[in-house]
Every structure is written in C-alpha cells, then in structure tokens.
C-alpha cells in the first residue's frame, strides 16, 4: 500500500464530461472522495456511472475536466493504477485461461497481491480456480475479478456493479469483504443499482442522473429518500383507518377498494402497525420502491 497523506482525496474529479456523438454521457461532474470512505455511486441505467468510472481509469478520455487518484492524474495510468483495483460491470476473461491463470496474471502485472488472503477469498467466494474461463458463468467471472481486486489490498477499490451476477450468499460475502476493506482503511467507490446493498455498505452516496450529479448525501439523508410502499388487504371494511393519513411518515394514502389500502411510508413503521392492529388485516405487503421510483419522485422526469 502506498503512503498517502490523509488530506489527499482518494479520488477527485473536476468538471468531467464525456460525449458519445450526440449523447452527453457525463456532464460537468465534480466529486471528491476522502480516503477511507465507502462511497456509493447510484443512478438508473445509462446514467453514466460506467462512463465516469472508465474515465477515472483512463480507459476513456474525458472531453473536458480531469480526474485524480490520490493526486496522480488519471491519465498517468502507470502511476495512478498502483493505488487502485477495479472490478468492471461486465468481466471478460480469455476463455482458454483458467481462473487461477487469470489471477496469476493480474497479480503478476499488478502492483502487488497478498497470496494468503487471495486463497482465503477463493474459499469464501467458493470459486474453483482450476476451471477454464469459458466454463464460468457471469457470476463466476465476476468472482475472479472480485478476488483479484480484494487480494491486492490497494488503497482504492473501484467497483462497477460488482454484484450484478452474484447469488445472495455471495452477495453477503461481498458485503463482508467491503466491511473488512473499510476496517483496513481502504477507500471503496461502489457503483450499484441496489439501494439495500449501498445502504448496508456505504457511508455516503452520490446520485447520478442523465450524466449529472444530482445529489451527494450521507447515509442518514439517504434514509430520507428511502420510502416503503405498504399494501394492506382487510378481511372486512374498517372505518377507523382514515386517520392513518395523519400518522408521521405516511403519505399518499389511497383506497383502491373498501378492503384494500395503499400508502407510502418514510421512517419507522411502528405507528402504522399499531394503528392496523385494531383492524382485521388479512394480508400485509411492504415493498421497497425501486431506485427508479425514488428518482422519479424526487427529481421528476424532466431531463436534468
């Protein structure tokens, strides 16, 4: 691990933008992530998350702006990449190489790997490294990249939707690895669609929409964004439930029939559950809204 002063941000972007023909994939993006932070990078499909990350890695040239990794310009890959490890959204490996050969190659060319930790990670992610990459599923290929990235112990981990192919068990292992990395003081830049995953692992999030950063907030503020959709089916019509609308955190109370009500809930569900306790509830469904729904709610559909 490199010796970096705590005042230097792990990554910093200033006025970064990228156009593909007429598409403005990323527009005037400025952001700094201090060392040791686990930062969640959210946004709907096509928001420009991968484009931002690929510019950060020097894989794409920004049209304007600059990015730095621990104060090294991102375009100086030979130096900047000594401080980071990357997991792409879509991991492609040479089909005839085995997983172990891919890991050996990445370790040999990369800035240094902890072989003992790598073997431990192989166990934890239940990856058979002696199989050829062509026999790997999407999730297995992702595991190869994850194992390689975590095993480097690089001070900055850049992860682009690293769990899109993982099953829930592996996803849990992934979260544990992130927590371990955070404990070791590694910085994590995690792009994701999964609000729950981000909530479980990140201390701060940035929300990207149509290539622009519309929100950078701590986790506490994120909870404010986080509403649940509650659907209640009643065995018999109940009159006393009209007062649900006055409870704290409840918004948008709708009766789709005399025995079915829907509402949006922000904050702890206790008061609502107590109020429902008096009624004859046949079925209760609590659904977290999709990231997209929150976006549409908070930022409207007007292009940013």
């Amino acid at each position: 691990m490199s010796a970096t002063s705590p005042s230097v941000p792990a990554l910093r972007m200033e006025g970064l933008s990228k156009r593909f023909g007429t598409t403005e994939a990323v527009a005037d993006l400025s952001l700094a992530v201090p060392p040791g932070e686990v930062f969640g990078f959210l946004g709907p499909n096509g928001a420009g998350k991968s484009t931002t990350i690929r510019m950060l890695l020097g894989l794409l040239r920004p049209n304007t702006g600059t990015a730095w990794i621990f104060d090294v310009p991102a375009s100086d890959v030979q130096r900047a990449h000594r401080h980071l490890a990357y997991v792409p959204a879509d991991v492609a490996l040479w089909p005839s190489l085995t997983g172990r050969e891919c890991l050996d190659l990445l370790a040999g060319v990369g800035p240094g790997t902890d072989p003992a930790y790598r073997d431990e990670l192989l166990e934890r992610f239940a990856l058979d490294p002696d199989r050829r990459a062509r026999t790997y599923s999407t999730g297995n290929r992702q595991k190869v990249a994850l194992v390689a990235a975590f095993a480097t112990r690089a001070p900055l981990l850049v992860l682009d939707e690293p769990t899109s192919g993982l099953d829930p068990l592996m996803e849990r292992e992934f979260r544990a690895c992130i927590a371990e990395a955070a404990r070791r003081g590694q910085t994590v830049f995690l792009s994701s669609h999964q609000l729950a995953e981000v909530e479980a692992t990140c201390s701060r999030v940035g929300i990207l929409r149509s290539g622009r950063l519309v929100e950078v907030a701590g986790l506490a503020d994120l909870r404010r964004l986080h509403r649940a959709e509650v659907v209640v089916d009643l065995a018999a019509p109940a009159t006393g439930l009209q007062r649900l609308a006055d409870l704290p955190g409840v918004a948008d109370l709708r009766w789709s029939s005399p025995v079915r009500l829907e509402l949006s809930l922000t904050g702890p569900p206790g008061p609502v559950l107590r109020a429902l306790g008096d009624a004859d509830v046949a079925r209760l469904e609590v659904r977290e809204p999709s990231l997209e729904e929150i976006f549409l709610d908070y930022y409207g559909q007007a292009p940013a």
């Binding site: 900047a80 050996d104 062509r134």
Partner: protein, 521 residues
C-alpha cells in the same frame, strides 16, 4: 435471426464480391488491350514452368482472355473466397455462441440445429453471390458466358466448401479461434493436395478431392467441364450435411470435441506482460508455422521435377530468359519466386495477431489488464515485439522446410540459401505489422484489412504491373518491387531498410493514437 446473420455478413460479401468482379474484369480487359503482345511463345514457356504450374495450376486456354484470367487469378481468388467464407461461418456460429448471443435466440422455440442451419444457408448464399460476381466481371469484360459461368460456379463452390467447413469446425470446437484455425487448415490442405496433384503425375487423382483441384479440372474457357462441378456440389452437400448433423444433440456453448475444462497446473508464462504476449502467440504461431512448413516442404520436394524439366528442355532456359524470367532457370530462382508468396503469409500472420489484440479489446478482455499499472504503449510494444519475433520464427520454419524438401530430393539448395530466401520477405511482414498497429490506433475495427494491405494489395499490384507493363511509378508502390529474388540474387538491403523505416513510422503513429483514444467494447 436470419436477418441478423445477413446483416453481419453483407459488408464482407460486398467487399469480396466487388474484389472478385473487379479483379477478373480488370485482368480480362487488360489482356485484350495487349492484343497478343504478350506472345504465345513466352506465355507457354512461362506456363510450362513447374514452379508456375505449382502456383497457378495447369495452364489451359491461355490464348483467350477468359482462360488467361482464370489461370492468373483463379487460385488466388478461390483461396480468398474460401478463407473468407470459412472465417465468416465460424464468426457467425461459434463466435456468436461464444459471445453468448445464441442463448438469447435459443430462448425461443428455435433449436440449435435449426439456427446453425440457417446461418450456414446465409453464408452459402453469400458464397454464391460472390461466385456470380466473379462470373459477371468476366462477362462484362466480354468473355464467353459459358466459361464465365463455369468459373463462377467453381468460385462459389469453393466458398461454399469454406462456409460448410467453418460451420462444421464451429460445432466441433468450443472456441472460435480454434474453429477458424481448423477450417482454414483443412482448406489450405486442399490447396496443397491440388499442388501435389499438379506436380506429381502419380497423385493426379488427388485433385478430385479438393475444391481447388476441381476448379482446375473444370477448365473454364477451355473445356468447360460439368463433371468436376458436379463433384464439387456433392462435396459441398456432404460437408454441409455433416456440419448441420453435428449441431444436433450438443449443449449450447460447448463443442463436440470436448476440450478439457480443467487444468490444475497453471502456465508459468502467465505472470507478466511479455509472458502473456508469448502465451497468446504460441499456439497460432505453431499452426501457421505447420502450414507454411508443409507448403514449403512440398516446394522443396518439387524442386527436382523442375531441374529434370530443365534438363529435358534446354530451349526453355532461353525462352524464359527472353520473357524476363531468367531467374526461374535455377533451383534458387524457383524457390525465390515462391518465397515471394511467403512474404504475403508473413504479413497476414502479423496482421492477424494485431487483429487478435483489437478483437480482445472489443470483447472487453483488455479492460482488466489496462486497469493495472500498464501503459497501453507498453502493451502495444510488448505485443508488437513478440509478434515480430514470431514472424521471424515463421519465416525460418518455412525456409528450413524448403531446405529439407530440396535436400531430400538432392536439388542442391543450401540451408543458408533457403533461410536467406525465406527471411528476405520479412520487411513485408514488418510493414504489415506496422500498418496493423496504425489501424489499431486509428481504425480498430479494420485492423486485419488494413494490416494485410501491404502484402496482399502489394502482391496483386506487382502481378498486375508486371503482367501488363504498367508504368514503373505504380510498381514502386508495391513493397514487392523492393524485394530481391533471394537466394538467386543478393539481398536488397536498401529496400529492406526503407520498408522497415516505413513500418516503424506507421507503428509509432499507431501507438501514439492508441494511447490517446478511448478503449472500445
């Protein structure tokens, strides 16, 4: 689904069709323009030379524009169309399957076998279109329709064989690269068989088992035979049926030939950039070297049939000298003429390897590598160095094989001479490497096409200028104009230095662009 395959094949089909029509029309029209100035005597002398026979097949009907055109361009075009069809077929079957796009298509009611059959039909039709184009070029140049039709059918049939072989190989192997390698290898083995059949009278029957031999046997514009074309049709049908049959009952994403899915001992090469470059070049080099060595072993073995011919025909040397082919009069001149072809192979190999890097980039396989502290220029230089070294090995393998063959029949060709002759083509290989690197920087989707241009384009340019006496300025632009006939002549050091300089310039320009541009995928 069929529409997708058509979309992916139509550009290549158009290019190859235009090339076939253009080449045949151009040569036929030029031949007419000469109006017999070539001289029947010198033509016959040229055509009777075993070296030329081996290369272009038995000369028939050289006194007509059509016959001359077919003899001069037929083999080259047939090889081109066959290889193109084979590569297209493996790309549209195994390549698509490898990229996971078959999974999506097969999620519907379509079965794998039906899908494979449809793709095969698309490439078969593409080959037919190319055959028609080749014939059309001849007809437009004013040659008899019957001969043009026979030639077009032979050309189409060769393409169809390539297509069927490509699809078959795509069913056998789980990786596109090995499938392409197998299909092209079988096709080129067919070319070798044709050459053996033309050079060794006892093995003449071999011609009936290969599309190139059958094309020759059909003798367009001379005899216009239908039987060889019929046999070609049977051959196409057989391979096509085999290809579709072998698609049945296998799992998507896997091949009939089950390569081993596990390997417990990791390769020790794969711990650094240069190791990776060597690892990925090793197997293709072995394949190309085996092919080139087989070809040049045959060239060496045929050397005495030429010396005997010279002994029996003392008048030939004079005739050949008058026709400007004095060098062909010796074993050294004979192998030198054929080593010119090796230069094309060297260039194609170098371009194909750089194209593999471009392909890896498109498939996203370089993303993890470039996220490491690896400057793109470092990767490009490492890869170029290894490919350059591999090109030298390829040339040396061919030279050694030619020597071995010649030594076997006691033709009197020294090992040093053979190696010098083979290595003399290296500047063309490096020129192709440079052009391919330039394309990697500026036009990554056209690396192969741009990369082979100095070799293939330069070779065609030289053939055309020499046949029709175009001005020397045009000839100068062919890299082959700057190669001496080693070992019959001393090495052209100045020409080589010039070509290497151009290669280095092209490579440097390409690398500069490569490090600055966006990575694709």
């Amino acid at each position: 689904m069929t529409a997708a395959a058509i979309r992916q094949a139509r550009r290549g089909t158009a290019i190859v069709a235009v090339l076939c029509a253009g080449m045949t029309a151009l040569v036929a029209v030029q031949y007419r323009g000469l109006d017999g100035a070539l001289g029947a005597e010198s033509l016959t002398a040229l055509a009777e030379n075993p070296a030329i026979r081996t290369l272009f097949g038995p000369p028939v009907g050289l006194d007509t524009a059509g016959g001359f055109t077919v003899w001069r361009t037929g083999t080259v075009l047939a090889v081109l169309v066959g290889i193109w069809a084979a590569l297209t077929a493996t790309r549209l079957t195994r390549g698509e399957e490898e990229a996971g796009r078959f999974d999506l298509l097969l999620a519907g009611r379509l079965r794998l076998q039906a899908l494979v059959a449809r793709v095969l039909v698309v490439v078969l039709v593409a080959a037919a279109v190319i055959g028609v184009a080749g014939a059309l070029g001849l007809v437009l140049a004013g040659t008899p329709v019957a001969g043009a039709a026979v030639f077009g059918a032979g050309l189409a049939g060769t393409g169809m064989i390539g297509a069927a072989l490509g699809v078959l190989a795509g069913q056998l192997f789980p990786e596109r690269r090995s499938a392409s390698g197998l299909a092209v290898a079988v096709l080129l083995a067919g070319l070798l068989a044709r050459m053996v059949s033309d050079g060794v009278p006892a093995l003449e029957w071999l011609a009936w088992g290969t599309p190139f031999g059958l094309l020759g046997r059909s003798a367009p514009f001379a005899a216009d035979r239908a039987l060889p074309l019929l046999v070609l049709g049977v051959l196409v049908t057989a391979v096509a049926v085999l290809a579709v049959a072998s698609a049945a009952g296998r799992d998507v994403g896997r091949g009939r030939v089950a390569g081993r899915d596990r390997r417990a001992r990791p390769s020790r090469l794969l711990t650094g950039l240069s190791g990776l470059a060597v690892h990925r070049t090793r197997r293709p080099l072995a394949g190309w070297a085996a092919g080139a060595a087989a070809y040049f072993l045959l060239i060496g073995l045929l050397a005495t049939s030429m010396t005997e011919f010279l002994r029996d025909n003392p008048a030939f040397a004079d005739l050949a000298a008058q026709a400007g082919f004095a060098q062909l009069g010796s074993v050294q001149g004979y192998v030198a003429a054929l080593f010119t072809l090796l230069a094309v192979v060297l260039g194609a190999f170098a371009a194909a390897r750089v194209a593999a890097t471009a392909g890896d980039e498109m498939a996203g396989r370089l993303t993890l590598l470039f996220a490491l502290p690896v400057h793109r220029a470092r990767w490009a230089v490492t890869e170029a160095t290894v490919v350059g070294a591999a090109t030298v090995v390829l040339a040396a393998a061919a030279g050694a094989a030619a020597w071995a063959g010649a030594a076997w029949v006691g033709a009197g060709l020294g090992l040093g001479q053979a190696l010098a002759g083979a290595l003399a083509g290296l500047p063309v290989g490096l020129l192709c490497l440079g052009a391919a690197l330039a394309a990697l920087g500026c036009a990554p989707s056209a690396v192969l096409a741009v990369g082979v241009t100095p070799a293939v384009g330069g070779y065609l340019l030289l053939v055309l200028t020499d046949t029709f006496g175009w001005p020397g300025v045009v000839r100068w632009f062919s890299p082959f104009a700057h190669l001496a006939d080693v070992p019959a002549e001393p090495w052209n050091a100045a020409g080589a230095a010039g070509m290497v300089a151009v290669a280095v310039l092209l490579a440097a320009a390409g690398c500069l662009r490569y490090v600055r541009r966006d990575l694709r995928n």
